[in-house]
């Protein structure tokens, strides 16, 4: 199996690798694993005024497709509101990266990471409001 130019580009020049400081304002974390292959992905978002995602970072232990999918979504979520980010579907990721069929679950992992990060943000946020 050979990968698309886009996967290779994200693999070789991953965007937004790393993590935010734990105490940074508006940071939420989504950590997900793929049961199929055991890979793990961590996506962090930094949410500003009006629920807009100002920045994102990722760390992934996984295959080239998983790394490329997570790198791609850090670019896509930036500038979106958290609700808009939830509209990103794994099929869009898989299309953009031209993933082969066995690698579709890697894009699902990235979609799940967004959902998990947003859920984490909403949880923390509601706690803050109720406090």
């Amino acid at each position: 199996m050979s990968y698309s130019v886009k996967v290779l580009d994200h693999y070789e020049n991953p965007r937004n690798v790393g993590s935010f400081g734990k105490e940074e304002e508006g940071v939420a974390t989504g950590m997900v694993g793929a049961p199929a292959c055991g890979d793990v992905m961590k996506l962090q978002i930094k949410v500003g005024k009006g629920g807009v995602i100002e920045d994102a970072k990722f760390k992934t232990y996984g295959c080239g497709s998983a790394i490329a999918s997570s790198s791609l979504v850090t670019e896509w979520v930036k500038g979106k509101t958290i609700d808009q980010a939830l509209d990103i579907k794994n099929t869009q990721i898989a299309d953009e990266l031209a993933l082969p069929p066995v690698k579709i679950h890697c894009s699902i992992l990235a979609e799940d990471a967004i959902k998990a990060a947003v859920a984490d943000y909403k949880k923390k946020h509601s706690e803050q409001v109720s406090a």
């Binding site: 693999y11 199929a36 292959c37 055991g38 232990y61 996984g62 295959c63």
Partner: protein
Amino acid sequence: MLKLPIYLDYSATTPVDPRVAEKMIPYLVEKFGNPASRSHSFGWEAEAAVEEAREEVARLVNADTKEIVWTSGATESNNLALKGAAQFYAGKGKHLVTVKTEHKAVLDTCRELERQGFEVSYLDVRDDGLLDLDMFQAALRPDTIVVSVMLVNNEIGVIQPIAEIGEICRARGILFHVDAAQATGKVAIDLAALKVDLMSFSAHKTYGPKGIGALYVRRKPRVRLNAQMHGGGHERGFRSGTLPTHQIVGMGEAFRLARLEMGAENERIRMLRDRLLKGLSDIEHVYVNGDMERRVPHNLNISFAYVEGESLLMAIKDLAVSSGSACTSASLEPSYVLRALGREDELAHSSIRFTLGRFTSVGGHRLCDQAPARQDWPLARTLAAVGNGAGRC
């Protein structure tokens, strides 16, 4: 010039040795006769070539030519040996014993035999990849008819104690099959001494062509098999089908060269393997999978903790190697061989198999000159250890 990528996947397959290819070509074009044609010189010429090749295969493993049956490869040999023996001796018992680290060509054949009503025990190995003889002995039953244990493992290169296993089987009247696909040209095989009844061979792991192999079927004491391929009664009824003369000639020449060159070749490869291992050992959290002593020098299987295998392969794209990572397999299962050694999934997931061969050579100094741009990745320095043989530089 060093050719990139460097091929370090000799256990997947080997290139055909140019000397072998040269010997094959006339049998495609001029000497094209059917070895089964008895009425003219075209057939006689082809038959003579087939028998000369049979002689060479037999010599490499110290067997009689009448004990060598041509097949399409080790997959078919394993199928013929296991199904053929189990079906023929079904009246004696219904139990077979094999090992969890066998090649799929053995394991899936055993699964099929289970569907046909046989019972199979799949034994664990120790964490060094070797079969424990006491555990093996304990698994044998009065109704055990066939045992199958490979000689050299394709993933981790360990050498199973087949001499001892053979003695145990013979003493109990159990047939012993050995998959030796990865062993020819790497370890000495003496079938006059070994108590092995059936042994599978493949040409393309030993610098011969793909699509040809052989099954050794012992004559004394005689082993009987149910044929799996029916037709013209070729190969004394064991395996019908017109013999592919050019392929057979290639396998014969490949096995002849293996016999003559094995000693020197293994020494050279051991030297290269040691250099490669030394280079890799400088990296932290590196683990060798499988015993280092009872192992062919051609294989290094290493887990790089915390790095997923597929993405590691992408980073070392100048090396053609394989990984036990789930992400590289269609089934998304990590290597069952490494799991059988008791490796956690993460370590199986981060394993890389380097296999060296005849055309691997020291070419590092050349590659080092080109490497500075890649110093950022950890395996750069290992490239300094081993290079490709294209120019035998």
